[in-house]
């Protein structure tokens, strides 16, 4: 067979396509990797347990304190050292056992805000009317107190906004995973968490760190939006940031309606893209086959 045009051109073309394919696969693979890594590192910050790694503690924001500055002495509290022979020894959660009212001594403002916020309210409700199935109560998380979000032994001070923001996405995501994933699909999450833009909004920039407002009231949402979007009007709050139907309660009819339309248009768009690509790829494939056929027949 004689190909006068350019010997060995098909391998070249093949290589080009193979390279493109390889790049695509690489992009897709690395995508899932990075997401997984973000979650892993943030979860690794962990909670306090009954044992403290003093080397890590020495680098933390609280490293200047002695133990009893936070934990008090056993003489004061009148409590005994935990009894090693008891069946629940070391089995109780250390964060549930600690009295976080002691944080107030230094963190007065944060503490007050927490008390007025959503998490404290939920915690109060749990105490008065426990909704959880008692058998599952231990495995299910209860509403958080300080230690559930903040790691008092190991948390460092002087972290950048991006560092704190990225950790926050993981911490909040332990209980609000659907919010985290919808946030990471949103422009704010992409800019802040993935692309390290310090101007982007992280969880607490909108919802508050300790007040934790779900922003269901439009006026509250608008105030929050206007922190960055100064020109925002009332309808601006209709933009759905956490665009996931799982997150919408029955009461939020407006958001629900919006999300239904967003879903419909998403499916329409996907169908359009799929049909167009099917046409273009099919047409090109047949065209190529025909040309190769004609070419081979000619020589």
């Amino acid at each position: 067979m004689n190909y006068p045009n350019a010997p060995g051109k098909s391998p070249k073309t093949c290589c080009a396509y193979a390279a493109m394919l390889f790049a695509t696969v690489l992009v897709l693979l690395s995508g899932s990797d990075v997401k997984a890594n973000t979650m892993r590192t943030s979860l690794a910050t962990g909670e306090s347990t009954w044992f403290v790694n003093m080397q890590r503690f020495a680098q933390s924001a609280h490293s200047a304190f002695t133990c009893d500055e936070c934990h008090g002495s056993m003489l004061e509290s009148g409590r005994q050292h935990p009894d090693e022979t008891r069946p629940d020894f070391l089995k109780r959660s250390a964060t549930q056992a600690y009295d976080y009212r002691r944080c107030r001594k230094c963190h007065e403002l944060a503490f007050k805000r927490y008390q007025t916020g959503g998490h404290a309210k939920a915690r109060q409700e749990e105490k008065t009317k426990p909704k959880l199935n008692p058998d599952r109560a231990a495995e299910l998380r209860t509403a958080p107190t300080c230690g559930d979000c903040h790691n008092s032994h190991y948390v460092r001070s002087g972290r950048t906004r991006i560092d704190v923001g990225r950790a926050m996405v993981g911490v909040c995501g332990r209980c609000h995973p659907a919010h985290t994933s919808s946030y990471l699909d949103n422009i704010h999450g992409k800019l802040g968490v993935h692309l390290a833009n310090a101007e982007a909004a992280f969880c607490s920039d909108c919802h508050g760190a300790h007040t934790v407002d779900a922003l269901k009231k439009q006026e509250n949402a608008l105030t929050v939006c206007r922190r960055c979007h100064h020109q925002a009007g009332e309808k601006f709050t209709g933009i759905v940031v956490h665009a996931s139907l799982d997150l919408v309660s029955a009461a939020q009819t407006e958001t629900k309606k919006s999300l239904v339309w967003i879903q419909r248009i998403r499916w329409m768009a996907i169908a359009m893209v799929a049909l167009s690509l099917a046409f273009f790829i099919g047409h090109s494939f047949l065209w190529l086959l025909r040309e190769i056929h004609e070419k081979l027949r000619k020589h």
């Binding site: 006068p4 045009n5 350019a6 051109k9 073309t13 080009a16 493109m20 790049a23 992009v27 897709l28 690395s30 995508g31 990797d33 990075v34 990471l184 422009i187 992409k190 800019l191 993935h194 692309l195 390290a196 833009n197 979007h229 100064h230 020109q231 925002a232 009007g233 309808k235 601006f236 709050t237 209709g238 933009i239 759905v240 665009a243 919006s258 999300l259 339309w261 967003i262 248009i265 998403r266 768009a269 996907i270 359009m272 893209v273 167009s276 690509l277 273009f280 790829i281 047409h283 090109s284 047949l286 065209w287 190529l288 086959l289 025909r290 040309e291 190769i292 004609e294 070419k295 000619k298």
Partner: protein
């Protein structure tokens, strides 16, 4: 046969304006795709690497908008050229040289597919622009406008939500992404593949840069297709 270099007397296929617009769109479109997808797929390492390369999201946003303005500028210039073509050059918008779709295009599509599958001995006799050219042209024209409008909504959400419900911004974002995905696959793979890498024109059809008809016509005649 390798067609020789274009001789200066081969017919003009693209005017200087069209060649220039194609070049600008080529650069603008690539810039838009790179910066846009680096945001859309920001969870991936290549996207982050590209963002780092251009100096962060602020620079990428600026580049994206710059490319958008020059690319859409080409659409506007082209629209004016259309009027100029009609009024000053006394050109015709209809007839065999027209870019507008006509019934013959559907017949040509059927005929051409039959030819691809070996049911017809020869491809249809296309007018100046085949149905493929027309699909390319109108897909791009509609795509540019979709991207332009949804892009403006995303650029100025505060202004648009004075008149539109908030979730229109979500919808604009969806359409912007899916249209971009379609456009990038069609332009980077199908268009480049079929305009340059197809056996009849490989390795490149330079007529959009030189303006001269070249490989395509010569080869087609030689191959009797």
């Amino acid at each position: 046969m390798q067609p020789g270099p274009h001789s200066s007397d081969s017919p003009i296929r693209f005017s200087v304006l069209h060649r220039f617009l194609h070049l600008v769109v080529m650069i603008g479109f690539t810039g838009l795709a790179l910066t846009g997808f680096s945001l859309a797929f920001s969870a991936t390492a290549p996207a982050r690497a590209f963002m780092w390369l251009v100096g962060g999201t602020g620079h990428a946003a600026w580049l994206h908008r710059f490319c958008a303005v020059i690319t859409y500028g080409c659409v506007v210039v082209h629209a004016f050229w259309f009027l100029y073509f009609k009024w000053c050059l006394d050109g015709r918008w209809t007839g065999p040289d027209s870019i507008f779709p006509v019934r013959k295009d559907f017949k040509d599509l059927r005929h051409n597919l039959a030819y691809f599958l070996g049911r017809e001995k020869s491809p249809p006799a296309f007018d100046k622009f085949s149905y493929i050219d027309k699909i390319d042209y109108w897909a791009l024209f509609m795509g540019m406008n979709t991207m332009g409008i949804t892009g403006l909504v995303l650029w100025f959400p505060e202004w648009f939500t004075r008149y539109l419900p908030g979730y229109f911004v979500n919808i604009a974002q969806l359409l912007h992404f899916f249209e971009a995905l379609l456009a990038v696959v069609v332009k980077f793979f199908i268009h480049i593949g079929m305009a340059h890498f197809r056996p009849a024109v490989y390795p490149a059809d330079t007529s959009i840069f030189t303006g001269r008809s070249s490989h395509e016509q010569t080869t087609r005649e030689e191959l009797k297709i």
